[in-house]
């Protein structure tokens, strides 16, 4: 039996979780305030994932960049590959929340979506 202490990062409550594993199998999760905590703990000890947020360049917009996120969480070890792909993206204004800017980013299966509305600059 192995015990790991984790901090749940699914929401800012940051519950302190205790995960007991046995030969890679999760035996118990305690300390969570809601079910998301248990899901997170199981995942974090087997295959950790993260949502990546960043910005990409916008041309012709009222501001030079638009904020973006991966529409779903991606494997933690793919963060750098995702960032490399993000840095190559440039979009034209206007951009709306939820617009898909890139499908299947860095082979993770997740789409890159805009998280902010950026209007086109009035000429």
């Amino acid at each position: 039996m192995e015990t790991r202490n984790l901090t749940c990062i699914n929401c800012p409550m940051g519950c302190q979780l205790t995960v007991v594993t046995d030969g890679g199998e999760v035996v118990s999760v305690t300390g969570n305030t809601c079910p998301r905590g248990e899901i997170y703990a199981r995942k974090e000890v087997t295959h950790p994932t993260r949502i990546v947020t960043s910005t990409v360049s916008v041309s012709g917009g009222v501001i030079p960049v638009v904020s973006v996120k991966t529409a779903s969480d991606i494997p933690k070890e793919s963060i750098q590959a995702v960032m490399d792909a993000v840095s190559g993206v440039c979009v034209n204004a206007p951009v709306s929340i939820g617009d898909v800017l890139l499908e299947n980013i860095a082979g993770t299966g997740a789409a890159l979506v805009a998280t902010k509305n950026v209007a086109a600059k009035q000429l």
Binding site: T7, C8, I9, I51, T55, S67, M83
Partner: protein, 440 residues
């Protein structure tokens, strides 16, 4: 228009961040009709526009949003309701009195607001009620007294956040962060992802001022060291930062000689705390708490000036925007009630102070009129130290009415207890409410 020819609104809200938006929406939904929001930025949403990370709104929307997405939900509701706002409009002055020349006004509780905007110039308007929602600003470097020159390359973490996330430019490549507030932690990750090397986060206190999740997600994930009980003792470089010296501190927060370590870097970010922005409130005669630097308020979130309400970070610094929205909605509702009831809304029944006992630094509200407490009142507070396996206790006079166990309480995380209005009203001779931390 009133006699002096100035426009009049029932409720004027200063600041269009999450607090101002939620207050406006709730005031409108509570029946107030003439509402105006004044915002100095070119868009609504406040600080959320630069907080592009996710983790907002889980409690409100049961899903995890980024800052701009959370703001957008409130902004579209705001526009649906047809509420007025003026952007690029900076409020310069607030007075809890009618403008000169209008003293004869029948309503004795008119407030005068002076703002300036590029399109309108300098303008005065009047209001029946005002909601303060100006948010907070970062403590600047001046408050730090680190010796040395003032080279380029020193930014507050929030300024760096705005530069990277809105202006799209990187302030530097090798970074040291002083202070472990949330903005600093978030920026440690953000700059790392953008290719910068974040060498260390130094925190003078023996615990972090930021949320635990941010330490895990922003530092641990990227192997960035968090140096607790450490501070920057020297900044090297004349034109541009070339290096900073970090030293350990003793229990009195004094640097320990011989522990100096030099970090070669081009940028120093400061994340040493936030201060509610209350110049306008002070000018209007609003009483300010020395602990929170925000207004002292009643259960109605009404300040010491009748008809002036406060919510969000201008009242006390929040870590979760969900609670900002909740608090602001309460302020909006109370302001709408105030307008409906006119000046008579002032309570004549005795008010009961909320005292802070062991471990509790402050509470919001700091006094309660039981007859105006409604069904329930949320008391928000912060502890002054880290407490493990303890209990949050509430006393009415000398009797304990609530005891909530907590595994851990930290100064970086706001706490709340909910009081029942009926319990307060039915308690005989209530003279004091007290919140304190007890051992479990």
């Amino acid at each position: 228009m009133n006699k002096a020819g100035l426009s009049y609104y029932d409720i004027v809200i200063i600041g269009g961040g999450p607090a101002g938006l939620a207050a406006a929406i709730s005031a409108k939904e509570s029946g107030a009709d003439s509402i105006l929001v004044l915002e100095r930025d070119r868009e609504l949403g406040g600080i959320l526009n630069q907080c592009i990370h996710n983790g907002f709104g889980l409690h409100t929307f049961k899903e995890e949003l980024t800052g701009p997405e959370y703001a957008a939900r409130f902004i579209s509701r705001f526009h649906e309701l047809g509420i007025d706002c003026r952007l690029n409009t900076m409020v310069l002055d607030l007075k809890a009195e009618a403008p000169s020349g209008d003293e004869g006004s029948s309503n004795g509780c008119i407030k005068t607001i002076t703002y300036s905007s590029r399109s309108e110039g300098l303008v005065q308007i009047t209001a029946g009620a005002v909601i303060l929602a100006m948010g907070c600003r970062e403590r600047p470097r001046g408050a730090l007294n680190t010796p040395g020159y003032r080279p380029a390359g020193i930014y507050t973490a929030g300024t760096a956040q705005r530069l990277v996330n809105i202006e799209g430019c990187m302030p530097g490549r090798r970074v040291v962060i002083l202070g472990s507030g949330d903005i600093g932690l978030i920026m440690a990750r953000r700059m790392t992802l953008e290719g910068a090397k974040v060498l260390a986060v130094a925190e003078v206190m023996p615990y972090s001022g930021g949320l635990k999740r941010n330490i895990v997600q922003c530092l641990d994930d990227y192997g960035i060291p968090l140096l607790l009980s450490h501070t920057v003792t020297e900044i090297k470089g004349k034109e541009r930062v070339e290096a900073v010296v970090i030293s350990e501190v003793d229990e009195n927060r004094r640097p320990v000689p011989g522990t100096e370590k030099e970090y070669e870097c081009d940028t120093l970010l400061l994340s040493v705390g936030l201060l509610p922005e209350n110049e306008l409130s002070r000018g209007a005669g609003v009483g300010i708490s020395p602990v929170t630097s925000g207004p002292v308020v009643s259960e109605s979130l009404e300040t010491s000036v009748p008809g002036v309400f406060a919510c969000g970070n201008v009242l006390h610094v929040h870590d979760l925007v969900d609670y900002v929205s909740e608090e602001a909605a309460a302020a909006g509702k109370r302001a709408a009630e105030y307008i409906k009831g006119g000046a008579s809304a002032g309570s004549d029944t005795p008010c009961v102070p909320v005292k802070t006992g062991n471990g509790v630094r402050y509470t919001v509200p700091s006094y309660i009129h039981p007859d105006k407490a409604g069904e329930r009142i949320t008391l928000r507070f912060r502890v002054g130290d880290v407490y493990r396996d303890c209990a949050i206790c509430v006393y009415l006079n000398d009797s304990r009415i609530a005891r909530k166990k907590a595994r851990i309480l930290a100064p970086g995380e706001m706490q709340e207890v909910i009081l029942s209005g009926d319990e307060l009203r039915s308690f005989p001779d209530l003279t004091e409410i007290k919140v304190c931390i007890e051992a479990n």
